[in-house]
Chain length 323, copies 2
């Protein structure tokens, strides 16, 4: 924690702490009524709003000895923003519920808020509201609103046999970073950073909706696990091809050093917040998307036509530190 000798949240009190978190932050045009009232009012131009919520818990989703408070804030925005991007929506606003112990330095709160604010601003969204409460550990609950701008939302349930399965962004890098942290290995800074702050390909979600993708999801639990959600919801089978997912040299090198299998990271590692989508076979994949497989009749997810044994991905209440 930064500056443990500075004033704490308890010293400053709730209202000043919230004011500090939103002070000086620019609001986009979509923020019609910003913080400072009982609720915010956000524009929903096409008469609909896409909305999703996520909760990050200290010691489970982040650790302050691995990530700075600012990175924790950035991660919360990325994780949540990817959910509306996977629907084909553009994030417009974030709300933040923050729980922390009373002896939390106000500097930590300021840095989490700064990370949330700057990450939201980078994607054109506002931070429009929040709540600050006392809790036994740091808990960050983030809700995102998104604008579909007249497009049909991308669901998990409309993939069809024959569709092309495509990926925007990369998988396995957050899991590799987590493994490096766990082993006390501080090489491969790009992989460590991928775990600290994922980089969802926001624009690719909008492009997929413009290209009338049949289904999409973000990769939060692992490629096989999340494609499995599409397969189940759509009543189809998804086959992915190893040749199209080859781990890059960085992943391979890190895996050699840790005695790990880079394919585990690529196929089952969570938290990269890449996007996967299923497109009609005759559609040219939009910018940022590359083919990784095919939708077929059947059920489940296969790799080169065969079920993959082992863990399918990450679940909140299974063993292990973090997703």
């Amino acid at each position: 924690m930064s500056d443990p000798t500075g004033p704490t949240v308890a010293d400053v009190g709730e209202f000043p702490a919230i004011s500090r978190a939103v002070a000086g932050r620019r609001q986009p045009d979509t923020t019609l009524v910003g913080p400072g009232h009982d609720a915010a009012v956000v524009a929903a131009g096409d008469g609909r709003v896409a909305v999703s919520t996520d909760m990050l818990v200290e010691g489970r989703h982040f650790r302050f000895d691995w990530s700075t408070p600012r990175q924790v804030g950035r991660k919360a925005v990325a994780q949540n923003g990817a959910d509306v991007a996977a629907m084909g929506a553009r994030p417009t606003a974030f709300l933040v519920g923050l729980g922390c112990p009373p002896d939390t330095p106000i500097a930590v709160l300021d840095e989490i808020s700064a990370g949330i604010g700057e990450a939201a601003e980078e994607i054109g969204a506002g931070v429009v509201g929040g709540d600050l409460v006392q809790a036994g550990q740091v808990v960050v609950a983030v809700t995102v609103l998104g604008d579909l701008e007249g497009r049909a939302p991308l669901l998990r349930s409309a993939a069809r046999a024959g569709d092309t399965v495509a990926l925007a962004g990369r998988t396995g890098r957050s899991a590799a970073g987590l493994a490096l942290f766990g082993a006390g290995h501080r090489g491969y800074p790009a992989l460590l950073d991928a775990h600290r702050v994922p980089s969802p390909p926001y624009a690719a979600g909008v492009e997929a909706a413009r290209a009338a993708a049949h289904a999409a999801t973000d990769i939060s639990d692992g490629l096989i696990a999340d494609l499995g959600h599409i397969a189940t919801a759509s009543g189809v089978m998804i086959d992915i091809e190893r040749d199209l997912l080859e781990p890059d040299d960085e992943l391979r090198s890190a895996a050699v050093e840790l005695g790990a299998d880079p394919w585990d990271w690529v196929l089952t590692g969570g938290e990269d917040h890449a996007l996967a989508a299923c497109f009609a076979a005759d559609v040219a994949l939009p910018d940022g998307w590359r083919r990784i497989g095919t939708v077929r009749a059947g059920r489940g997810v296969t790799v080169d036509g065969r079920p993959r044994t082992g863990s399918g991905g990450w679940q909140s209440f299974s063993a292990g530190h973090s997703r």
Copy 2:
């Protein structure tokens, strides 16, 4: 906790637990895409959405030896729904982030979810999404969306000298219930229930917006504290009249038994989620509203023209169990 011998959240796993929480729950017409995708899609008929978020923490905002899990869920909806009601909006959708220890009985989760679901349904709103994560204590983060239905939002910042200050609902009852719980007194069931599950006057918020109220807020931190937020935001003074806020016989009787001052409860008790608003002096107060004072030039909040000494209300990081 109910049925501590039953299966736990860890036994059941994240996805089934979320499915249980939303299964069989009716969605209103405003839920265009419900749970089961990366984000929900909610109608925002007039091209705007009112939105607010709140976090409730076990041991701080509720205790399972005082409240059932179902009551905790109902309280989370009421607390959050009152925020959009205070803007003059009608709640349309709730999202729930739930943190809990892995050994939490699934029955507890089911009951919290049932309380959230039934309370949302009673006010015509859907529960459209959620997240379930592992945490050291039970944390309920709720976000509410509201529909302004073409009305101007009620802000805190537009009260004017000469306005009538009015109240919908009652104050002091939750604080009385909390004091009774703290003293181990199980009489006055209506006051205990007022602390367990507040009853915001949702319709009164809509009526206030229809009557073009100048400012409004919900009473979450205490009457004086929350009117103080309006006074500060509007640059005015608010004077309330004791004669118009007389504690009823139930409050007086409970106060006598506990050796407490019922005026402390009425003026500074939080969590009732009554609504306060400032109306132009020539406006007939709508149904559910009664006059309690007047807006004047100046600053701060007075009672019968004098500042009230003592605590102005509840703050998250001050001493004491709960607001």
